[in-house]
Symmetry: C2
């Protein structure tokens, strides 16, 4: 077939209409320093080299520094092809902050020294791109204030859901709506472990060991399993989408450690599976929010999410429900989010654009709502008991005293009577109604441990 | 529960870090004129009144004109609450173009006079927001060039997929990837009609009449049914996501008019349903693109899309596959996209931002690839014949002569022998290999009409 090469004429037109100066390309390259050369940092470097640096670019971006502890060892281990020879490799982030870099990409994660680096860069008049969910969830508003005061930009599109462009969408195409709800599967480790328990019906501990062996879970996976990671992401989504400033610690997180294979058997009988769900609903001045394992219908979008995918659902007053699905982790997808932020910031800094900062708005007004986990839902209660006559009657009595209505009792055969798992589901009630009954039931002599209680999300 | 009102202190910080001037609010309101007071125009007006105009806003936006033919009649029929009393209602779009409006929202659709309005507004130094897919698909690059030359902005986030923020996501969070494929369900009318044929097993003509009666299809629904609407949207997605400048007419469109209830029976036997799918794959210098009814697995994202939803899937070299799902049409969701564009443009025009145009970039370089519909896929061929012995043997002979491999032959009992529908599925082959065989088979004396041929997308 005859191939036809692009006539380049329309190029400038399109670029110009979206902000670049007509006629002349930017004269000086935008200088970019990278701090953190782990999985994401390496992916960012490689993709930048393949797409916008050196021969593959238009000269508008220049990579000036790659900074990491023991950078020489890192450099010896692996360096992408085509890293420009004039990049400065350094252990010393202070040198980067003192340099003439225009933009710092922070990819080391955690609160320290990442916090000092981001603050230092902003103080020094540099724009910052970060994927650091903990830092943004805790200090986002304060850091945005600092960036504003310095007339520079702080972008964090990679901090939630990896490559899934949900934060950019919240800040652009959905900013005309009034969102009131956000829910998502935001943690790949939990999704992997729960999916493995589901498919292989193995114990939680075995699924965790497998995830650790395959690199899907860290040696200390508490942040993932116990919901710390997901609630930081939920706090960022609440900031960007619901204009709510909430501390991640104010969001209740339930661990997935108590979910076992038998729960997937019982969930399946209810047409459900179990996923770690993060959800936030803004009602008047209260943000209902929590993170934790939940029953979701097998046929729902949540039930179908694959191991490393993230799914985010938003609910708006005018636009209704939207869903965003894609690779929620991994070097390359996360690097796409970082590089997208980088391109947009670099464009806003380009000569002729007449201002240093600028761009799309998060919110005209931030709320600081009270947070609550007092959702009203149906519930799944899974007991583990030393079997004897009268157990269900005793539990039913307690539930009845607390005005809680039983929807179903599920008890499969074949279990050891000395440690019998069975399930009671409840009709919708508030979390706060359920808790006193749970405490009372946990104290019963036949209970081997407190029951596992999971919301059922329809 | 005790409610706590927002401390407003963080507000400026967040706004400022994303581009607004520190300290002072914009002094002069951005003046916005609306042309087109149909379903979307009314929704835009109502939502603007509820969220950003008058008492509900911060004074940064002002609605100056509402323009429509016979505007007095429109005004008498329905006006949202709280429309500011100083809005000028007019029939005369020239008066709007001659006014001091900063931004014109064009919502009348079609090529004329919308084209004159958009060109005139840009020429007059006004930024333009439009939902006009036909205009952007045909004249997008030229109009963007004009906007660039005038230093103003042209935004069209509402032109594809209604309220689903796929265009904003392509231009922000995915701009760091190299996308190579886009596919979607982009036309709600087709989706409604095909879903109705599927669920009620009614003839195409009856489903169309029903859709027309319920307002889901226009009296002349050709643009929807025959793919003209969807291919305009696909051309815009190719522009924004694949950096390809293609005329919509160069994209093959197959009509859904030939799909009948029996096809859903046969598709179901293959684990599939039928949807109008728009798809574009960029391979080297060729854009493979088409729009038309296709078999998709019942359990696939496409198979699960509900009647008025749109779904867009993107495939990127680095970020992998992403999915965007939501309300693809309707006044309110489309208005969200228009108002989102409006807010971002107004912000970029705010005093202190130092430039008139500006914002996010579409593409550094536009390709003008050759377009082709020569996809390689498995195929579904549904014949309608006067039954007699030897038909399958004759068809198999022709297919064999063209080197086409039969995958399955499906023939359900119970049909009239004088007009017997049955199906042959083929193993993957190119469109161009299939076409000569189709012509040969259409000429056979037992064929009541040429067979229906649909790609099977896995």
């Amino acid at each position: 077939m005859p191939k036809q090469k692009s006539p380049k004429q329309p190029v400038k037109a399109v670029a110009a209409a979206h902000g670049e100066p007509i006629g002349d390309r930017p004269k000086a390259a935008c200088r970019v320093a990278l701090i953190g050369f782990g999985t994401v940092g390496r992916a960012v470097t490689r993709i930048l080299c393949e797409t916008v640096l050196g021969e593959n670019g238009d000269g508008s971006l220049r990579l000036t520094h790659i900074c990491n502890r023991n950078v020489e060892r890192k450099k010896q281990a692996w360096v992408p092809n085509n890293v420009p020879s004039d990049v400065i490799w350094t252990d010393d982030f202070h040198a980067v902050l003192d340099s003439d870099a225009d933009i710092v990409i922070e990819l080391i994660g955690g609160l320290s020294p990442a916090g000092e680096i981001v603050r230092g860069a902003l103080q020094a008049g540099k724009s910052v791109i970060t994927a650091n969910k903990q830092l943004i969830a805790r200090h986002g508003p304060e850091l945005l204030q600092l960036a504003g005061a310095k007339g520079v930009r702080l972008e964090f599109g990679a901090s939630v859901a990896g490559g899934v462009p949900v934060l950019p969408a919240l800040r652009t195409g959905l900013c005309g709506d009034r969102l009131h709800g956000i829910a998502g599967i935001l943690n790949g480790t939990c999704n992997y472990i729960l999916s493995r328990i589901e498919s292989a019906r193995i114990p939680f501990s075995e699924a965790l060991e497998e995830a650790q062996a395959r690199g899907f879970a860290e040696a200390d996976a508490s942040e993932d399993l116990d919901g710390g990671d997901a609630r930081a992401k939920l706090a960022i989504l609440a900031l960007a989408g619901l204009q709510c400033h909430v501390a991640p610690e104010s969001i209740r997180a339930r661990s997935i450690r108590t979910v076992e294979a038998v729960d997937f058997d019982y969930a399946s009988e209810l047409g459900c599976t179990i996923r770690q769900i993060s959800r936030a609903d803004l009602k008047q001045d209260t943000l209902f929010a929590e993170v934790g394992p939940s029953l979701v219908p097998v046929s729902s979008p949540f039930g179908r999410v694959q191991s490393n995918q993230n799914l985010v659902l938003t609910s708006g007053k005018y636009g209704g429900d939207m869903a965003f699905l894609g690779a929620g982790a991994g070097g390359d997808p996360t690097a796409v989010a970082v590089i997208s932020d980088l391109k947009l910031v670099a464009q806003s800094l380009a000569p002729g654009n007449g201002r240093k900062g600028g761009g799309e708005g998060v919110a005209a007004a931030l709320l600081s709502p009270e947070t609550s986990c007092d959702f009203e839902t149906p519930w799944y209660l899974r007991f583990l008991v030393r079997d004897r006559p009268g157990i269900v009657a005793r539990l039913a009595q307690i539930l009845s005293l607390h005005q809680l209505n039983i929807d179903a009792v599920l008890q499969n055969p074949g279990f050891d009577k000395a440690a019998l798992p069975f399930v009671i589901t409840l009709e919708p009630c508030r979390d706060s109604q359920l808790r006193p009954a749970l405490e009372e039931m946990a104290a019963l002599d036949f209970a081997i441990r407190p029951c596992l209680w999971l919301p059922i999300l329809r």
